[in-house]
């Protein structure tokens, strides 16, 4: 299967050049700046005014984009189609959610100093041990990265050690997130069951219901995305990145030239999971709720679709895809509520069939042409 796919995908080759990255980061920061200015400087009611709702929306898109980048790292470069990345996203989100719940303190409807509301009316008399420490920001934020990282480490260790590959891996990642969804739905788990965690008040002392905080979160997400992107780029352009691509296309071969493939897979998988967790943590305070539906396998598949649509193994493609799809969702669900699923479904079908390299594929082709010229000149000199 690997070899099959590789032949059709050898275009996924050039590690990102300096310039792509510069362009991407440039565009990103320009966008951040623009939105900020239009939100703060432009008076309300003015056509150019960007209201808090929109800022918040963009913030959400950006966190999705970061998630997509994380998925692209493992799928695009490592060839691991994870249908369970929603799980890492959600766990990161829950870690943040737990912190925000603790921040509510005694301002809950029951005014209980320690227990969140849902625990009070489900008659919990004390805080379960795994909620300890989440009143401290540093601990919670550490957990945002560590919890998903740890899960990925254990799961990946088992899976890669025993060389579960291809579809099998995809399916058990799906099983993982499905099992977690069911588990988090259980109220005994102490994560609020189906209602999840909500009614957040403040983050690091900033009121979550003020527009400035929203703007802040939006910018923070943008920066996080930039950093995540830079990190991923560093990885994929390093020799390690090339080992990943090698693994993706010919795992056995990579072993025979002496690379312990499973360790490389594990390393990248964990990094990706942590990024997903970070994305989740930024997502939650912006949408104001985290509940087990983020674990649903369908969501995880959707993430993969963003990446596919944007273009695998390009990183920026993932970002484009995530923003495009979710923007489309927002528009469609508003404009044609009854029919938007048709549009979404059709989009997925058409892109996979007609545009297998995603939106980024077009750009890539141009790059490849340039590259060939360079190659041919090299030939001449030789």
């Amino acid at each position: 299967m690997m070899t099959q796919s590789s032949s059709s995908q050898f275009w996924l080759t050039r590690p990102l050049g300096e310039r792509t990255t510069q362009i991407f980061l440039g565009v990103l920061f320009a966008a951040l700046l623009l939105v900020t200015v239009l939100h703060l400087a432009v008076p309300q009611g003015h056509p150019l005014y960007v209201n808090a709702y929109t800022v918040n929306l963009f913030g959400k898109y950006l966190s999705y984009a970061l998630l997509a980048v994380a998925v692209d790292l493992v799928w695009g470069y490592l060839g691991i189609l994870s249908l369970g990345h929603g799980a890492f996203f959600a766990i990161g989100g829950y870690a943040m959610g737990m912190y925000l719940m603790r921040q509510i303190g005694d301002r809950g409807t029951y005014g209980h100093p320690v227990l969140p509301d849902f625990m009070v009316f489900l008659n919990w008399d004390s805080l379960p041990w795994y909620w300890y420490g989440f009143d401290m920001a540093w601990f919670a934020f550490a957990m945002v990265l560590l919890a998903p990282g740890l899960l990925a480490l254990v799961f990946g260790f088992l899976a890669f050690r025993s060389r579960v590959t291809g579809v099998y891996l995809s399916i058990i990642t799906q099983a993982l997130t499905f099992a977690l969804m069911l588990a988090f739905f259980r109220n005994e788990m102490g994560f609020g069951g189906n209602n999840g965690l909500t009614d957040f008040r403040e983050l690091l002392g900033y009121n979550l219901r003020s527009n400035d905080t929203r703007l802040g979160l939006f910018i923070a997400t943008g920066v996080a995305l930039a950093l995540g992107y830079i990190l991923c780029r560093a990885i994929v352009t390093s020799k390690l990145g090339r080992v990943c691509v090698a693994t993706r296309d010919a795992e056995a071969r990579t072993r025979f030239i002496g690379y312990r493939v499973e360790r490389f897979q594990l390393f990248v998988f964990v990094v990706s999971a942590m990024l997903a967790g970070l994305a989740g943590a930024l997502y939650v305070p912006q949408v104001g709720i985290i509940n087990p539906s983020e674990f649903s396998p369908l969501f995880s598949i959707e993430i993969v679709l963003w990446v596919a649509l944007g273009g695998r193994a390009t990183l920026y493609g993932a970002v484009i895809g995530a923003i495009l799809v979710n923007y489309a969702k927002t528009v469609f669900t508003g404009v044609m509520p009854d029919a938007w699923l048709f549009a979404l479904g059709a989009m997925f079908v058409l892109v996979t069939v007609l545009l297998p390299k995603g939106v980024a594929g077009l750009l890539i082709r141009r790059k490849r042409q340039k590259h060939d010229e360079r190659a041919s000149t090299g030939e001449a000199s030789a």
């Binding site: 899976a159 025993s162 099983a175 099992a179 588990a183 598949i301 993969v304 997925f348 079908v349 996979t352």
Partner: protein
């Protein structure tokens, strides 16, 4: 309700027989009207009295009235006439006069007031009718009424009951009545009753014994305890069988849902996320067939087996031609494209048919359960589905093993180029295979329509489980799918009682994950060089 039994039997002793009634001249309708008017009161106890009165009155229409009352079809018009509604669906209902039985044409539900009853009255009516039926020439009626007597007997009843037992010619009725009598005896602390109840699995009997076991009379108590012990033992065994059956029937559902996938996914390597929606289409086909053939749910169901297969197969072909053929050798891409398709199909059903669930009627021969004994009865609909699953599986095996298509399919999957060069039309084989897989999904839908709701979300609930089953069993191995499905079903049902439904499912999933670690290619992996990626 005992009151009415007694009364019934009292009448019997007075030589009253409903059958005898028929000859007598029918009383004038004013009396009858009074009887019915007594029913049209708000208080339920009063209605109870009225029912008694009707029962006591020697009117041969009594049974019809009571039956109509029981079915909520005895109603009263604005102008005070009592009518029996013949069909209470839609806005206007055909009615007939309760007294004269003459048809009054259609009436609007606005002009009719139902004479309401509640469960208590319903019980009362059932018993009343049962008592009447105890003397009916119809054996089945006698059986049902005899069964109702279990645990309802008291001393006034004991004496006449033993006479009845003597007279009764039908063995089953006799046994039932004897049990009923024995239960009464045990409750009243007589030893012979205990003996008679030994080994009886009927809950009433068990309750009676356990009460006796804590009774004052030591002899009876010991005997009862002893009897109980053996019963409990017996119950355990039955429960074990029951759990196994539950497991197998759940397993059969999983197998049905997964087997089509085992073909498209296992044999063709296409990850068809729209598989669930193909199942859904099968279920909707069943619904449509039942709409087309109103009143014959059974026939409709039978017909929808080929219909469901065809519909799903055609859609399958459309998918294969329209999308999948362009994604040769990109299995993971097929996942994405077909996911889009599944979204479209779902919303299509929502907009074209309805977002609401559709009613699919269970035909007579599939409803209820097969009574093995008082403690163990197997639900028929699931038994049919179980059988159906096995048949589908067997025929698939035949197709794969014995037919030309099967041969070609295997050839193409093993070495496409070679198969081509040997003159096999690979594209045609692809279409056929995918159609087959999809068609089987349709069959699964037909079966599921008898177990769960027929709605737009039907497919989503099964797609993930299906993938688990196929992967657990080993991709490309139909036997694997069968074994995997059934075993997962049984495991789940064994876990459920002590772990709870949710936890059981989680445990099963974790089990699958760990299992895949141990055997990365499932229960029945394909070995050899061919299998190396």
């Amino acid at each position: 309700m005992r009151r009415f039994l007694i009364l019934g039997l009292a009448c019997l002793l007075m030589g009253w027989l409903p059958t005898a009634q028929a000859q007598q001249a029918s009383p004038d309708d004013s009396a009858a009207l009074e009887l019915l008017e007594a029913l049209d009161v708000s208080s339920y106890p009063a209605k109870g009295e009225a029912i008694t009165a009707i029962l006591q009155s020697d009117d041969e229409r009594a049974r019809d009235w009571l039956q109509a009352l029981l079915d909520g079809r005895l109603q009263r018009t604005e102008d005070g006439r009592f009518v029996i509604v013949l069909d209470n669906s839609g806005r206007n209902w055909p009615v007939e006069d309760a007294l004269t039985n003459e048809s009054l044409g259609e009436m609007s539900r606005r002009d009719l007031n139902r004479i309401g009853i509640n469960n208590a009255l319903r019980n009362q009516l059932r018993s009343a009718i049962a008592v009447v039926d105890l003397y009916s020439p119809n054996v089945d009626r006698r059986r049902t009424s005899a069964t109702r007597l279990l645990g309802e007997v008291d001393e006034e009843l004991a004496a006449p009951l033993s006479e009845l037992i003597a007279e009764e010619e039908d063995g089953q009725v006799q046994r039932r009545l004897a049990q009923a009598l024995a239960i009464y005896q045990v409750e009243s602390g007589q030893l012979e009753g205990v003996e008679a109840l030994r080994g009886s699995l009927h809950p009433r009997a068990r309750v009676a014994l356990s009460r006796a076991a804590n009774g004052d009379d030591p002899i009876v108590a010991d005997a009862a305890r002893e009897a109980l012990a053996s019963i409990e033992q017996n119950l355990k065994i039955n429960r074990g069988i029951e759990t196994l059956y539950f497991g197998l029937s759940l397993g059969s559902v999983l197998v049905l849902a997964a087997i089509g996938l085992a073909i498209t996914f296992g044999v063709m390597g296409v990850i068809n996320m729209a598989h669930g929606e193909l199942i859904m289409l099968g279920a909707y086909t069943t619904w449509m067939m039942q709409q087309l053939l109103p009143g014959q749910p059974g026939l409709a169901l039978i017909l929808s087996i080929p219909a469901g297969f065809m519909v799903a197969a055609l859609v399958g072909i459309a998918i294969e031609r329209g999308v999948i053929q362009f994604l040769k050798g990109r299995p993971l891409e097929t996942l994405l494209a077909t996911f889009g398709i599944s979204l479209i199909l779902q919303q299509l059903v929502r907009t074209v048919i309805s977002p609401l669930n559709r009613t699919v009627v269970t035909p007579e021969w599939m409803s209820g359960s097969l009574v093995i004994n008082d403690a163990l009865s197997l639900t028929l609909n699931r038994m049919v589905v179980l059988g159906f699953a096995l048949v589908v599986f067997a025929s698939l095996m035949l197709i794969m093993r014995r037919t030309r298509l099967g041969l070609e399919v295997r050839a193409v999957t093993q070495n496409r180029a070679m198969a081509r060069s040997m003159g096999i039309r690979a594209t045609r084989v692809d279409i056929m295979t995918f159609a087959l897989g999809s068609g089987v999904a349709g069959l699964a839908g037909v079966a599921l329509s008898q177990l769960t709701n027929v709605g737009p979300n039907l497919g989503q609930n099964y797609i993930i489980d299906s993938f688990m089953v196929v992967v657990f069993g080993g991709v490309g191995n139909l036997w694997g799918t069968l074994v995997a499905g059934l075993s997962l079903g049984v495991i789940n049902q064994i876990l459920e009682p002590w772990a709870g439904a949710v936890l059981a499912k989680i445990i099963v999933l974790v089990f699958i994950i760990l299992f895949i670690q141990k055997r990365p290619r499932g229960l029945f992996p394909q070995k050899g060089r061919a299998a190396e990626g």
